[in-house]
């Protein structure tokens, strides 16, 4: 069967949303356009999209990231988002939780519940998802260093509320490599951290068939200042590194690769962003088939979440950010994203208010319902410009892969870790950030409201106020949990964890799930692991 017939068969089999696929004036539209022999969506090498019918079957998931204050505060925001038509939950944790520290840790002072929700024990997770059916909602959790610990707590909440593990659906970021490169939320050195990633992959492969155990993230690499090409190349290199780590841990490629997903940034250079998503799909398909021997189509199809670029937002004339977000969201949709977070216009000032978060969601709904761009898959495919830019980004990314493979003597995992250890990624990203800043300083890049069109910056919107009492409320809750739990059980769980950490062939997830159920804190679990794994201090570079 030719590609066209295969595509047609898949398209015919797919479900269809109940809307007319035509222009506003009634011109009927084909599901995809192109000459005979052109690439097709859902077909090798998937440049034009992972699925034959794309948004005709299902729109992307509108997944707005939220979290602040205590678990009860965020639970309220979750329910508000679900009520206004959001289709998935996305959890932001506070800095202490992200770094595996309890709210009563001296380093946590001032940061409890500030930039996300504070989670100390499974009890906080029970409150966070209270009244929400984990069997029907899909949840994304943005956490990396302490991912395995928080995942164990989420499984525990499901267990307690009678939701079968097979029914848990969602994504945990669990992408530690980009933490060393960009976001800097690391705790342990890279190698034991990668073991935790693969432990969670092994556990999910065995017990959580609807869970995505790693979301390989370029978002933070871009936010830290990289170019689009660096975002593409570093992210996919990290993806290949996880594949190699999972293979080395004994997993079969087609058993886990279908559950890998990606997370990209949507920045302001409209066509470059679209080319980036298209190139990412093509590169992934080639490498998974040719280098890692995957044969299942789902292992070859790169699926991704997108968030609009927080770093593109300005504190000056903040309402202008709504225009930026709309343009970025459109690039993600034209690039074929599977889920999307649109930033709120007030995010350069503070965490978003509820009103600003709703406007951001509405922006996606405008793209989905009013623009008609969802009727045709990869509408820019075949554009000489976009096709050429796609090829160019692919070729630049391949040069980076070649460099990393050389550094790793043929291993992408070793190449990536060595390039973390010697500060190569950090220096590359810092160089790009400085070059961009220099363009703004010299006026070669005009950012509206910052170095051009600066009149009229006279309205500051109201910003979210996080009650400083959050910290003391969280501390009181934590103290109460510590008083109520069984100290002997806690001690034995902590001992089991540090003992099992010394044997790299063991999967740490069962010990973590046991600890979570006994209300061992995030900090106690991480401390037990740190006593074996040690602590990472990055090599100094500017």
């Amino acid at each position: 069967m030719g590609d066209r017939q295969k595509w047609q068969a898949e398209y015919d089999r797919s479900s269809r949303r109940d809307v007319p696929f035509e222009t506003m004036s009634g011109v009927p539209l084909e599901p995809v356009y192109g000459p005979e022999g052109a690439e097709l969506p859902g077909q090798w090498p998937y440049t034009r999209g992972p699925y034959a019918s794309m948004y005709r079957s299902r729109l992307w998931t509108m997944r707005q990231f939220a979290g602040f204050g205590t678990a009860a505060d965020t639970n309220h925001r979750f329910k508000e988002l679900l009520a206004s038509g959001g289709s998935g939950l996305s959890t932001a944790f506070d800095m202490p939780t992200l770094l595996g520290r309890d709210s009563d840790d001296p380093m946590a002072k001032g940061e409890v519940g500030r930039a996300g929700v504070a989670v100390d024990t499974q009890a906080d997770m029970e409150t966070l998802f209270s009244g929400i059916d984990l069997g029907t909602v899909s949840t994304s959790m943005t956490i990396n260093s302490a991912a395995a610990v928080v995942m164990a707590m989420y499984v525990g909440v499901g267990d307690r509320t009678g939701v079968a593990r097979q029914a848990l659906s969602g994504t945990i970021q669990n992408d530690i490599l980009k933490e060393y490169q960009a976001q800097k939320e690391y705790v342990f050195p890279p190698r034991p951290s990668v073991r935790l990633v693969t432990d969670l992959m092994r556990f999910a492969t065995a017990e959580l068939p609807r869970w995505h155990p790693v979301s390989i993230s370029g978002y933070h690499i871009r936010e830290a200042g990289s170019t689009a090409t660096q975002e593409l190349a570093f992210t996919l290199a990290n993806g290949f590194a996880y594949v190699e780590a999972a293979l080395a841990a004994g997993l079969v490629v087609d058993a886990f690769a279908p559950r890998l997903s990606f997370f990209f940034n949507a920045h302001m250079d409209f066509f470059e962003e679209i080319a980036k998503y298209r190139a990412a799909r093509r590169i992934w398909a080639h490498w998974m088939r040719d280098r890692y021997g995957a044969t299942d189509g789902r292992s070859l199809q790169l699926r991704f979440h997108t968030q609009t670029a927080g770093v593109s937002l300005t504190a000056q004339q903040p309402e202008v950010n709504m225009a930026r977000v709309a343009i970025e969201a459109l690039s993600a949709v034209l690039g074929g994203t599977q889920s999307l977070h649109t930033d709120s216009y007030d995010e350069a000032l503070a965490l978003p208010t509820e009103r600003a978060a709703r406007l951001a969601l509405r922006t996606q709904q405008v793209v989905a319902e009013e623009t008609g761009v969802v009727h045709v898959a990869d509408p820019l495919g075949g554009s000489w410009f976009v096709e050429s830019l796609t090829d160019e980004l692919e070729s630049q990314a391949e040069s980076v892969f070649a460099h990393l493979l050389e550094v790793g003597s043929g291993s992408m995992l070793d190449g990536v870790i060595a390039s973390i250890e010697d500060g190569w990624f950090g220096t590359e990203i810092a160089d790009a950030a400085y070059q961009f800043q220099s363009k703004i300083t010299s006026g070669k890049w005009v950012q509206v409201g910052v170095n051009g069109y600066t009149d009229g910056d006279d309205h500051q919107p109201p910003t979210l106020y996080v009650d400083p009492e959050v910290e003391s409320r969280q501390l009181a809750d934590l103290e109460a949990i510590k008083q109520a739990r069984d100290d002997d059980a806690v001690r034995s769980s902590v001992e089991r964890l540090s003992k099992e950490a010394t044997d790299p062939t063991l999967n740490l997830m069962p010990a973590l799930i046991e600890a979570a159920a006994r209300y061992v804190t995030v900090g106690e679990c991480m401390g037990a692991l740190e006593s074996v794994f040690g602590t990472w201090v990055e090599r100094s570079y500017v």
Binding site: M107, E111, Q316, T463, V542
Partner: protein
């Protein structure tokens, strides 16, 4: 500040916040501007900062904050320096809402460099801070614009 050497600036992130893009860009702006940069980097405590100021004979401390904890952590940096008998001015860069600026001033912060502060503003504020021997500053945001 001795006259025979460039102004020495310590740059640090306090607490757990890992957003170091701004700090690294500022480091390069200051180096290009003829300053000497002591890059302390991530996860610094107030004690570590004070110790580095003494050890490296630092003239100005620059701390970067993107985590909403500025009202807790920035005054703690100033207090730690003053407890050690140091007058070193402290400049904060990052995301500080306007409503918090008076409190930052009261706490003895010399200045706040907001998002979108130009390279020239960064250099001018640090230069002015180095010339000031007390913490009588203006917590006036230099540039209130977008993070870049």
């Amino acid at each position: 500040m001795p006259d025979d050497r460039p102004v020495r600036v310590l740059l640090a992130k306090v607490g757990l916040d890992g957003h170091d893009r701004g700090l690294r860009v500022v480091a390069r702006i200051l180096r290009d501007g003829g300053f000497e940069v002591v890059f302390a980097g991530l996860r610094q405590t107030t004690d570590m900062i004070t110790a580095s100021v003494i050890e490296e004979d630092v003239d100005v401390v620059g701390v970067s904050m993107h985590n909403g904890a500025h009202l807790t952590l920035a005054p703690a940096v100033v207090a730690s320096l003053r407890d050690a008998g140091l007058n070193t001015p402290v400049v904060v860069g990052g995301i500080v809402p306007d409503v918090d600026l008076p409190k930052m001033l009261e706490a003895g912060i010399y200045a706040v460099l907001g998002p979108g502060a130009s390279n020239a503003e960064v250099v001018a504020i640090i230069k002015a801070a180095a010339g000031a021997t007390t913490d009588e500053g203006t917590a006036k945001p230099a540039g209130t614009g977008g993070r870049t």
